[in-house]
Symmetry: C2
Subunit: 197 residues, 2 copies
């Protein structure tokens, strides 16, 4: 096998979830059928990795100093929604009509992995809450153990600065069938039932 090809395969393994076999398949596919697309990818990777940094305000990825949402004049700066990742922000943006702004933690509290409040930029979040503009902190971390721990920490932080913390509702997913919903979710949904109008 050509050395250059081996090097290409090796460098493709930097992608998440890509092992030796997949990297081989990708390399052969690009060489065989997608030389143009591959070259475009090479350029984009170079440019993007050089230019994309973090938004000064919300820590989202952006190539400008402020991301489009933080820079927008039409967003409501009284509501701040904390999410774990840019993809979570994107999901909320696509599914809801939320018009406030975001804070992207880029992770969740996980002391064993060395991820503490500093790594999540919580000093920056605290400073933002201290400014007094934010009235509600919508906590949209994932409903995992670590996400919940992070949510509790954030709620405490909000209260310290006189900001009202709120949390996404948990319950039976729309379109889901009760018998297939996991026990924890069902118990939560049952306990949190509301009166019908």
């Amino acid at each position: 096998m050509s050395t250059l090809l081996e090097q290409l395969i090796e460098s493709l393994r930097v992608l998440p979830g890509v092992g030796q076999k997949t990297a081989q398949r990708m390399a052969y596919h690009l060489l065989d059928r997608e030389r143009e697309g591959g070259k475009r990818l090479a350029e984009m990777l170079g440019v993007a990795l050089d230019s994309i940094g973090h938004c000064r305000q919300c820590r989202d990825f952006t190539e400008t100093e402020l991301c489009a949402i933080c820079a927008s004049a039409s967003r409501d700066r009284h509501q701040l929604c904390a999410v774990e990742s840019p993809s979570d922000r994107l999901a909320i943006e696509q599914a809801t009509g939320y018009r406030g702004v975001y804070f992207i933690l880029q992770g969740r509290l996980s002391p064993l992995d060395g991820i503490g409040p500093r790594e999540l930029g919580l000093d920056q979040l605290a400073a933002r809450l201290a400014e007094g503009e934010v009235t509600e902190l919508i906590i949209a971390t994932n409903p995992t153990v670590e996400g919940e721990a992070t949510a509790h920490y954030l709620a405490q932080l909000a209260r310290q600065h006189g900001v009202r913390p709120s949390r996404l509702a948990h319950g039976v997913p729309l379109g889901g069938e009760l018998e297939y919903v996991d026990r924890g979710t069902l118990a939560h949904a049952f306990g949190g039932r509301s009166d019908m109008p």
Copy 2:
């Protein structure tokens, strides 16, 4: 979302088996944790896609005129092994002690997809067989319908040039259990049984 990020995600989708979600995950992973690896990948992609072509003799991918195997003085040029893809060649190379040379079809006969003898370089293969150096054509196409059709075509081509065609043995895989082997394989193995010494 930043435009540059969207463009990066879009270009990652050129990779096989990578859809919108995976491309997003890859982009975030690279931006978050693998900027160095990502830049190396960008460089390697650029260099590899520019420099890697096909070996003049066996059609394998290589950045030189002849691949390492075709250029090697220690390989036996009387045996020629036809495989569908470079990964098949690699598998044979790693598993067997084969010392002959290869011919890489880069596909299999598939008239419906517009892949005929010309696309597989069979004119080139015929010219090679006509030279008279090759005495055995080992046909190692995959045991699929199209692979078998290709194998029959290749065997005919070999006989036309007075070259002996041979085919990899089919049968029960080593370490396999009879009850889990598919019927076709079992029937083939049963019919092709050999006397024990």
